[in-house]
C-alpha cells in the first residue's frame, strides 16, 4: 500500500523532485575500481621500481596521493549544487584555454616528449583532462540553452558551434598536444551529447563525416601514428621495434590464461611491458587474474555504465542529463580505447583505464566528474523521464538544494521497481 502511494506521489512530482539519497551503488562500483587499481599498482611496484631503479614505494605512493586527491575532488563536486557548474561553464572553458596556452610554452623533454603536461615541482598535470571536464560542463550548458531556445535543429546556432568545437579539439588536442586518444574521447562526448539531445540524424552523419576527415588527417600527418596503425594491422611484424608494446600487451593478456598467474606473479611488469602501471594496466590484470579476472573487470565497468544510463533516464533536467551523458561517454570511450588497444582491437593510444590506471590528473578529474554525477543522483525521479524538462524546473531543483530544507526521501533508482505505464 505504501509503495503504491509513493509511486503515485512520485508520478505527480515529476519536475519537482526533492533531494533524496544519492546513488551509493555508483560510489561502491567506483571505489571497487579504484581499489583494484591500487592493489594492482601496489603488487607490481617492485617490478616497476627494479626496472627503473627507483624506490619500491614510488608508484604506490603516487597512486595513493592521486586517490586521496581524487576523493577530495569527488567530495567537493558531490556537495556543490549542479547549478554551480552551469554558472561557471564559461569560466571553466576559459581555464581550459589558459591551460592549453601554458602547456604549449612548457618545454618538452625525453620523459615528456609532447606538449601534454604542465609541470610544477614534482607534479605533472595533463591538460587534456581539464579540457574534458570543461568540455563536459560547457557542452551540457550550451545544449541546454539551445534546447530551451528550441534551436536544437538550427544549423547556424547549434550545429555550427559544435563543428567549430570539433575542429578546435582536432587542432589543439590531437595536433598540438599529439593526444589522439583524448581527442577521440572528446569527440565521442560531443557526438553523444548531440545524439542523445535529439539532433537530427542527418546532422549527426555530417558530424561523423567531419570527424572521419579529422582522424584521417591526424594519422596521415604523424609518422608515429602511421607506424602504430601499421603495427596494429600487422601485429607480429615489428615486435622488437615500434610494435613492441602492442606485442608485449598481447603476450601479457594471453599468458594469463583462464585463471591468471596470481596477484604477486606478474612477470611482464618487470620491464617487459611498457607503462605497466599506467596505460597497460589492463594487460597486467589479464596476466595476473586471467580471463576470469578480466571478465569480472568488464562486468564491473558494465554495471558502472548501466548505472550511469539509469541515472540519465531519471534526471530531472536537461543540464543534469547532459552532464551524465558526457560522463558516460567519457568513461566508456576511454575504457574501450584503452582495452581495445591492449587486445589488439585498436591501435595503441596513450590513454588511461578509467579509475584503475595509475595517473594522477586523469584520476582526479574523473572522480570529480563522478562527484557531479553523485550530486545529480540525489535529484532523480522515480519515473523514467525525458530530456525536455524545462530549465525553470531545473533551477527550482537547484534552489531546493540551496535552502537545505528539502525533504530527504530514501530514493535510489536501483531500489525501486522501474515503473512502467
Amino acid at each position: 500500500m505504501d509503495g503504491r502511494r509513493r509511486r503515485t506521489l512520485a508520478a505527480t512530482t515529476v519536475g519537482a523532485v526533492r533531494r533524496h539519497k544519492p546513488d551509493y551503488l555508483l560510489l561502491i562500483l567506483a571505489s571497487l575500481l579504484l581499489t583494484i587499481g591500487l592493489v594492482v599498482v601496489y603488487s607490481i611496484s617492485p617490478g616497476l621500481a627494479a626496472s627503473q631503479r627507483i624506490s619500491q614505494n614510488h608508484f604506490i605512493t603516487k597512486q595513493l596521493i592521486a586517490v586521496l586527491l581524487g576523493a577530495a575532488g569527488f567530495a567537493a563536486a558531490s556537495v556543490l549544487p549542479v547549478e554551480f557548474w552551469r554558472r561557471n561553464a564559461k569560466n571553466l572553458a576559459v581555464l581550459a584555454v589558459i591551460g592549453c596556452v601554458v602547456v604549449m610554452i612548457t618545454p618538452i623533454n625525453a620523459t615528456y616528449p609532447a606538449h601534454r603536461w604542465i609541470r610544477l615541482g614534482g607534479f605533472s598535470f595533463q591538460v587534456a583532462e581539464l579540457i574534458k571536464l570543461a568540455l563536459l560542463v560547457y557542452l551540457a550548458a550550451f545544449i541546454t540553452t539551445q534546447l530551451k531556445k528550441g534551436k536544437m535543429t538550427d544549423f547556424k546556432s547549434t550545429l555550427q558551434p559544435l563543428l567549430y568545437l570539433l575542429l578546435g579539439i582536432g587542432i589543439v588536442v590531437a595536433k598540438a598536444q599529439s593526444d589522439l586518444g583524448s581527442a577521440g574521447v572528446m569527440v565521442v562526448m560531443i557526438v553523444a551529447a548531440a545524439f542523445t539531445a535529439g539532433i537530427p540524424l542527418k546532422r549527426i552523419v555530417l558530424i561523423g563525416g567531419v570527424v572521419l576527415v579529422l582522424v584521417t588527417l591526424a594519422i596521415a600527418s604523424s609518422g608515429y601514428r602511421r607506424e602504430r596503425l601499421a603495427n596494429f594491422l600487422h601485429p607480429q611484424s615489428n615486435c622488437q621495434g615500434s610494435g613492441y608494446q602492442a606485442c608485449q600487451a598481447l603476450i601479457s593478456v594471453g599468458s594469463g590464461g583462464l585463471f591468471g598467474l596470481g596477484l604477486g606473479y606478474s612477470v611482464q611488469a618487470y620491464g617487459y611491458l611498457p607503462e605497466a602501471s599506467n596505460d597497460s594496466i589492463f594487460a597486467i590484470i589479464g596476466e595476473k587474474f586471467g580471463f576470469i579476472g578480466t571478465f569480472i573487470i568488464l562486468v564491473i565497468y558494465g554495471a558502472f555504465i548501466t548505472r550511469l544510463k539509469q541515472i540519465i533516464e531519471r534526471t530531472a533536467d536537461s543540464f543534469s542529463r547532459l552532464l551524465v551523458v558526457g560522463v558516460m561517454a567519457w568513461f566508456s570511450t576511454q575504457m574501450i580505447i584503452n582495452v581495445g588497444a591492449m587486445l589488439g582491437l585498436l591501435p595503441l593510444k596513450g590513454i588511461t583505464l578509467p579509475l584503475i590506471s595509475q595517473g594522477g590528473t586523469s584520476l582526479v578529474f574523473m572522480t570529480a566528474a563522478l562527484g557531479i554525477v553523485f550530486q545529480i543522483s540525489r535529484y532523480t525521479s522515480y519515473k523514467i523521464t525525458g530530456p525536455n524538462i524545462t530549465t525553470d524546473e531545473a533551477s527550482r531543483i537547484s534552489n531546493n538544494s540551496f535552502d537545505g530544507r528539502g525533504v530527504r526521501r530514501p530514493h535510489n533508482p536501483a531500489l525501486v521497481t522501474r515503473p512502467r505505464t
Partner: protein, 597 residues
C-alpha cells in the same frame, strides 16, 4: 509514428530511445571485447604462454666457490691463495639522465676520471657499460650509498694472495674466464673449481631472476676442494731470497731452485726468477714469467749428470767405488773428440771419486764404455743399458706428473737410431745432448740416493672436499730398485767427497757443521746454438746436491742461466746458491745429524 507524437513532448521517448541505442552499442562492444579476451586468454593461451617464456625464461650457471690453496708453516697450515669478492661497476646509459653529474659522483666515490665515466655513460645504443673493475667492498658501499640511477655493481670472485708473489709460478693464477692458468691452478683446475650449479629462472627484462616465480629450477653448485701443498712457506720464503741474492751475485737474470724430500717426492720449496705478482697477472707483458721453469723448461743439465752415470755404472757392477783406470783425457768417437772443459786432471790414472770431484768428461764416458765392457767404444750394449737407466730407472724423458701446468718431458736420444750415436751417448754421460728439467733431475737423484725408490714428485699433500672429507695423498712409488741401496750409500759418499774436495780447493762456504752429510755436484752446461753446435761463451750453471745425516733428507737442485761471473758456471754461480740453501736447511729445518755424532 502518429502525427500527435510530433507535437507532444514525445521527444522524451525518442531521446531515451537514442540513449538505449547507444547503450546497446556499448554492450555490443563489451561483448566483442569479452569474446576477444576469451580467444586470447583461453583459446590462444598456450601460444602466448610460450611467447612469454621465450622472453622471460633464462638459464644461468651459478659459479661454485673455488677451493683455497694452503701450505705448511712452522705453526701449522696457512692459506696462500684465498678468494675475495670484488665488484664490477657498470652503468646503463639509457637510465642515466645527467651523465656529467653521475660521472663526477662516481669519480668522487671510487676515484678515476669523471670525464671518462661521463663519456662511457653517454654511450648510445647500449644498456651496459663497465665503468670500473675490481672495486673493494668499501668502494662498492660508497657508490651504493649514492643511489645513482642507472649505476650498479656486480660481485665477482677473485683470487687473493696473502703471501704476495710467493711461489707465484708454482701456484699459477685464475684468468678472467675463471680458468686456472699455469701451475697448480691449471693442473688441478677441475678439482679446485668444483661444479657450477644451474638456475633456470624467470627473469625481468634486464635478466635478473625473479624470486617469486614458480617455474624456477635451481641446482646448487658444489664448491671446489681445498688443497694443502707439501710446500713449507718459511722454506719457500728463504729459498726465494737466497735465489734472488745468488742470481744477483752471479750476475744472472734468471734461474731456478728447488728443494725436495727424497724419501717421499714431496716438493718443499720451488722458485724461479724472474717472477710476477699473481694478483696482477694481467699487467705481465712477457708471458714467459708465468712458466714454472723448474718444471716446464728443460735444459742440457751438464756435469751434474755424472752422479747418475756413476750410480748406473756402480749398480751394474761394471765399476766399484774404488776402481782406478787410465784416463787418456780425450776419446775419439765417430770422428769427433770428447775432451774435458772443466777442471782437467790431464791424462793419467784416475778413479771414480775424481771423475765426480774433478768432473772429468772422459771419465764419465769411460764409465759408460764399461757398461758395454769395451773401453774405447760406446757400443750398442753400453747405449742400451744407459738408455734403460736414464728412461726406465731415472724416469728421464717422461713427464713426472707433478701437479703443474705445462710440464715438459725433456729429451733422451734413442740408443739405436741416428748418426754419431757413440758421440751422442758419450755426451749424455756428462749431461749434454739430452735435456731434463731441474725437477726430473731432483727426482732421479732422490731415487739414486734414498735406496733406490723413485717417488713421483708432488706438490699436493692433502685435499678437503666440500663435504669436509680430507684425503691425505700418499707418496706414489713409480719404481723400486732404481739402484741398489748399497749403491745409494756409495753415491752419498762420492758426493760428500766432491763437497769436501771443493772445500779444500778454497770454497770455504762449503764448510758445514760436523755431523751433517752434505754432498753435491756442479755442472757447467754448454748451451746448444740453434744454428748448430754449442755457444763458445755461454753456459748454464747447475748444481745437484743433498743435505742429511745417515740418509739424505733434502735434495737440492739449482740452475743459474748464463751467469755473468767468470770461472766455471757450476762452481762459481750455482755452487754458492746450493751452499746457502744447505746452510739454511741445517740451521732452520731440523736436519737430523748422523747417529752417534
Amino acid at each position: 509514428m502518429n502525427p500527435e507524437s510530433r507535437t507532444r513532448p514525445s521527444k522524451t521517448s525518442s531521446a531515451n530511445r537514442r540513449l538505449y541505442v547507444w547503450y546497446g552499442a556499448l554492450l555490443f562492444v563489451g561483448l566483442i571485447v569479452i569474446l576477444r579476451l576469451f580467444y586470447l586468454q583461453v583459446i590462444r593461451h598456450d601460444y602466448y604462454r610460450q611467447a612469454a617464456l621465450n622472453d622471460q625464461l633464462k638459464q644461468y650457471s651459478i659459479p661454485a666457490e673455488r677451493g683455497v690453496i694452503q701450505a705448511h708453516d712452522s705453526t701449522g697450515i696457512v692459506p696462500i691463495v684465498l678468494n675475495q669478492k670484488l665488484y664490477t661497476l657498470y652503468g646503463d646509459p639509457t637510465l642515466v639522465k645527467k651523465a656529467d653529474e653521475t660521472g663526477a659522483k662516481v669519480a668522487g666515490a671510487v676515484g678515476g676520471s669523471a670525464e671518462e665515466y661521463a663519456n662511457l655513460l653517454k654511450t648510445k645504443k647500449t644498456r651496459y657499460v663497465v665503468l670500473a673493475k675490481r672495486l673493494s667492498a668499501v668502494q662498492k658501499d660508497s657508490i651504493t650509498k649514492l643511489k645513482l640511477p642507472g649505476v650498479g655493481t656486480q660481485a665477482q670472485d677473485y683470487r687473493t694472495y696473502p703471501e704476495g708473489s710467493l711461489a707465484a709460478q708454482l701456484l699459477g693464477f685464475v684468468n678472467n674466464d675463471g680458468a686456472g692458468t699455469y701451475g697448480i691452478e691449471q693442473f688441478l683446475n677441475s678439482q679446485l673449481a668444483g661444479s657450477p650449479g644451474m638456475l633456470k629462472a624467470i627473469t625481468d627484462a634486464a635478466g635478473v631472476p625473479l624470486a617469486a616465480s614458480r617455474d624456477n629450477v635451481q641446482i646448487n653448485p658444489k664448491a671446489g676442494d681445498n688443497v694443502v701443498l707439501s710446500m713449507d712457506v718459511g722454506m719457500q720464503k728463504q729459498l726465494e731470497t737466497i735465489l734472488k741474492n745468488g742470481l744477483d751475485r752471479a750476475k744472472s737474470s734468471s734461474g731456478s731452485a728447488l728443494i725436495m724430500d727424497p724419501n717421499t717426492g714431496a716438493i718443499k720449496a720451488m722458485a724461479n726468477l724472474p717472477t710476477y705478482d699473481p694478483s696482477q697477472y694481467y699487467n705481465v707483458h712477457d708471458g714467459n714469467v708465468f712458466n714454472n721453469a723448474a718444471v716446464s723448461s728443460p735444459l742440457e743439465v751438464g756435469s751434474v749428470m755424472k752422479t747418475l752415470t756413476a750410480a748406473a755404472a756402480l749398480d751394474q757392477g761394471v765399476v766399484g767405488p774404488d776402481t782406478s783406470y787410465y784416463d787418456p783425457s780425450h776419446w775419439l768417437l765417430d770422428g769427433s773428440e770428447v775432451t774435458n772443459i772443466e777442471e782437467d786432471g790431464g791424462a793419467g790414472t784416475q778413479n771414480i771419486a775424481n771423475i765426480l770431484n774433478l768432473s772429468i768428461n772422459t771419465g764419465a764416458t769411460w764409465m759408460l764404455m764399461q757398461m758395454g765392457h769395451e773401453t774405447g767404444k760406446v757400443n750398442a750394449q753400453a747405449r742400451d743399458r744407459w738408455h734403460d737407466y736414464m728412461v726406465n730407472h731415472y724416469q728421464l724423458g717422461k713427464l713426472t706428473g707433478i701437479e703443474q701446468g705445462y710440464e715438459a718431458a725433456g729429451y733422451i736420444p734413442p740408443p739405436d737410431k741416428g748418426y754419431g750415436l757413440q758421440l751422442t751417448y758419450a755426451n749424455t754421460s756428462f749431461g749434454q745432448a739430452m735435456t731434463a728439467t731441474p725437477l726430473q733431475m731432483a727426482a732421479a737423484l732422490s731415487a739414486a740416493l734414498n735406496g733406490g725408490t723413485y717417488y713421483q714428485p708432488h706438490l699436493v699433500d692433502r685435499y678437503t672436499d666440500s663435504s669436509g672429507k680430507t684425503t691425505i695423498k700418499k707418496p706414489v712409488v713409480v719404481r723400486q730398485n732404481v739402484v741398489s741401496s748399497k749403491v745409494s750409500r756409495q753415491l752419498q759418499g762420492l758426493m760428500e767427497y766432491v763437497v769436501a774436495g771443493h772445500l779444500q780447493e778454497g770454497f770455504s762456504y762449503l764448510k758445514f757443521p760436523a755431523g751433517y752429510s752434505v754432498g753435491g755436484k756442479t755442472g757447467t752446461a754448454q748451451i746448444a746454438n740453434p744454428t748448430g753446435g754449442y755457444y763458445a761463451d755461454k753456459y748454464n750453471g747447475t748444481y745437484m746436491g743433498f743435505v742429511g745425516g745417515d740418509k739424505p733428507q733434502y735434495v737440492i737442485v739449482v740452475r743459474v742461466n748464463q751467469p755473468g761471473v767468470g770461472g766455471y758456471a757450476g762452481s762459481q754461480a750455482a755452487q754458492p746458491l746450493f751452499a746457502d740453501l744447505a746452510h739454511m736447511l741445517i740451521n732452520d729445518f731440523n736436519v737430523t745429524p748422523r747417529s752417534g755424532s
